[in-house]
């Protein structure tokens, strides 16, 4: 079933990609990027999130932040589906370099090669990086 805004023609729905290249907690970019994505969901755009380089660490299972006095925001990634943000792309090479596999991640994602991710970036209309 197509949604009404999808029939409004070109210009209304754009391909937005949120590029996450930074580790969580050391800086705020991961958290505040997630806050943008949650708001963006209400705008009914074609939203995807890319995780590459240290950004793949954002999705690591088992985060426990009690010791550093910051809030553990990683459960929010699991809530994304409820906001219809379902395209989470993770770069295979970034995982491999860090000794991580899909099993280490706290949400279902699509793992893809650097080359495929590069192509996908190329198809976007708006790319937000923080």
């Amino acid at each position: 079933m197509s949604e009404p805004w999808e029939e409004e023609g070109p210009g209304t729905v754009k391909k937005f990609m949120y590029v996450n290249r930074k580790a969580p907690y050391g800086t705020i970019y991961a958290l505040e990027s997630l806050e943008v994505v949650l708001i963006a969901a209400a705008f009914e755009q074609d939203v995807s999130m890319a995780f590459l380089d240290d950004g793949v660490y954002q999705l690591k299972k088992g985060q426990d932040t009690k010791g550093i006095g910051q809030k553990n925001f990683s459960p929010t990634y699991r809530a994304l589906e409820g906001y219809d943000v379902e395209k989470l792309y993770v770069e295979a090479e970034s995982l491999a370099e860090r000794g991580l596999s899909e099993d280490d991640l706290l949400v279902p994602v699509e793992v893809m090669s650097r080359e495929a991710l590069a192509e996908l970036m190329n198809e976007q209309e708006v790319i937000l990086s923080f």
Partner: protein, 102 residues
């Protein structure tokens, strides 16, 4: 659709230039700004990295940032074009989207 990539960090300090080059598809353009301009210089340990990118990409460097750092146009790797802020705007006009490698 063609993309403009911006890189604003020194290749000696961060992995952003390497990551950008690893993801820039053939035909896309790369603009080095701020501390990223060090990546455009001839005769450094990273010059070959950028020289290799010239086969598949047009590469630009922001002149005002270059000059601020005591570098002149003739120290730039051959094939890299120097632009000013107006040229930066022109590049964003020519390419359908811009990706900042932060």
């Amino acid at each position: 659709m063609s993309m403009l990539h911006t890189v604003n960090k020194s290749p000696f300090e961060r992995n952003t230039l390497v990551s950008c080059l690893g993801h820039a598809t053939a035909g896309s353009a790369i603009l080095l700004i701020e501390d990223g301009v060090y990546g455009a210089l001839e005769g450094t340990a990273h010059s070959d990295l950028l020289r290799g990118a010239l086969a598949d990409h047009s590469v630009y460097v922001l002149g005002p940032d270059l000059n601020a750092r005591g570098m002149t146009d003739d120290q730039v790797i051959e094939g890299v074009s120097v632009v000013d802020y107006g040229g930066f705007v022109d590049l964003t006009e020519k390419h359908e989207k811009v990706q900042a490698w932060l």
